[in-house]
């Protein structure tokens, strides 16, 4: 993609992620490229920013991480060390491992340590209680009883979606017609120039169908977002960074703060990577910092590892 061709017309998105010791990923026209960098461009430009946490799995206590509450605490501490204070915190689901009230309470307390306005959407692990997610919604979605909602902040329009409810056998993540209807109404009167940030647990693009890493009816949601000049889609679920750009829509999945999962198809199952060498776990966990760069219609996404 030639950035000059798009700049000023519909804007362009540049996604950047630090992986370990300063590798810059630039995704352009769907083709990711990486190079080493000396300093983050995002850090040089103060502006509106927010941070993403994902897949805390409070309650998980097996290899490779028997202290997921501790690593969530480290992620929250890393937020405190960012150059400028983020405006808000987004959690893209699997806050808990088994939807237990005590797990939610622990997570709520640790995440609250960041002292940031927090918005979350449920992962499938947050919805396995008898009441179909009610304990999660009561704590984390501020009264949105189905787990989807929207709000405006810093000139951006944020949309939280729930794509883990009422999943059907053999399928992937799903939004459902009622939620799609709500989204259509939510976006209808918005100017195409307003940057949109969509956050949901399961990726809204099909990362790997054999493992269910995608959302069946995502195309219908993306059709509603097509006319906007800047759309950033933040997901979790797969416990690793993946990025893709489709037109004006940039997709980004975040690392987990609990445990890494294998790259698609590289293991018999998507279960936790257990054989992480001692001392390397924290390089596979992390947080995501998203920054609006004024005047360039670009959101810069920076991933920071815990070690």
């Amino acid at each position: 993609m030639d950035s000059d061709e798009n700049e000023g017309r519909r804007g362009f998105l540049r996604c950047m992620a630090w992986a370990g010791a300063g590798v810059l990923w630039t995704v352009s026209g769907g083709v990711p490229g990486s190079r080493l960098l000396g300093g983050a461009e995002a850090a040089e430009t103060p502006g509106f920013s927010f941070v993403q946490l994902s897949d805390s799995h409070i309650g998980f206590r097996a290899a490779p991480n028997t202290d997921v509450t501790g690593t969530l605490g480290e992620a929250v501490a890393a937020i405190g060390r960012l150059d400028s204070r983020p405006a808000l915190l987004i959690h893209t689901g699997d806050v808990s491992h088994l939807s237990k009230p005590a797990q939610f309470d622990t997570a709520f307390q640790v995440i609250g340590g960041a002292g940031l306005e927090t918005h979350a959407v449920p992962g499938e692990h947050d919805m396995v209680d008898e009441d179909n997610g009610a304990p999660f919604f009561a704590r984390f979605t501020k009264g949105a009883k189905h787990g989807y909602y929207s709000f405006d902040q810093g000139g951006l329009h944020f949309v939280g979606l729930n794509n883990v409810q009422d999943l059907r056998a053999g399928g992937m993540g799903a939004l459902g017609q009622a939620q799609l209807d709500w989204l259509r109404a939510d976006l209808r009167d918005r100017p195409a120039s307003q940057p949109i940030v969509v956050f949901a647990h399961v990726p809204l693009w099909t990362v790997y169908a054999p493992w269910g890493w995608g959302t069946e009816d995502a195309a219908e949601a993306l059709a509603l977002l097509r006319r906007f000049g800047s759309v950033t889609v933040l997901n979790g679920h797969i416990h690793q960074i993946m990025q893709k750009v489709e037109g004006t829509v940039a997709f980004h999945t975040a690392r987990s703060s609990a445990f890494p999962q294998p790259a698609p198809g590289t293991a018999p199952s998507p279960g936790p990577m257990k054989n992480v060498p001692p001392g390397r776990l924290r390089s596979l966990l992390g947080i995501t910092d998203v920054r609006l760069v004024r005047g360039r219609a670009a959101l810069a996404i920076t991933d920071t590892v815990l070690a």
Binding site: F60, E124, H125, V128, A169, G171, W211
Partner: protein, 102 residues
């Protein structure tokens, strides 16, 4: 429970077999089991990630295990003859089948 009476009658006709399904590597193993009406199937989760056993043929499901954490089991008695498809509601690509015969 309405089928309990014929199921009980069958119990006396032949010994009830115990059937097990092991959940490992995000699969139900074996993916298909055949049981006599009234017999039980026990699922045991050997993964480090929780799974569920959920009725895949009806909404809302007629049976569901709730989350099975590592090393835990759940047992269900099948009292209806026919093919019972089930899945993991956490990982819907995981599917299995219980065939219930007379």
């Amino acid at each position: 429970m309405k089928r309990l009476a014929p199921a009980m009658a069958l119990m006396s006709a032949h010994a009830l077999a115990q059937h097990s399904v092991r959940i490992e590597n995000f699969t139900f193993n074996p993916p298909q089991v055949t049981v006599h009406v009234g017999e039980e199937v026990t699922w045991t989760n050997a993964d480090d990630i929780p799974h569920t056993v959920t009725d895949g043929a009806a909404t809302p499901p007629r049976y569901r295990s709730g989350p099975l954490d590592t090393g835990t089991s759940w047992t269900h008695r099948f009292t209806d003859i026919g093919i019972h498809r089930y899945f993991c509601s956490l990982h819907p690509h995981m599917q299995g089948m219980v065939v219930v015969v007379k």
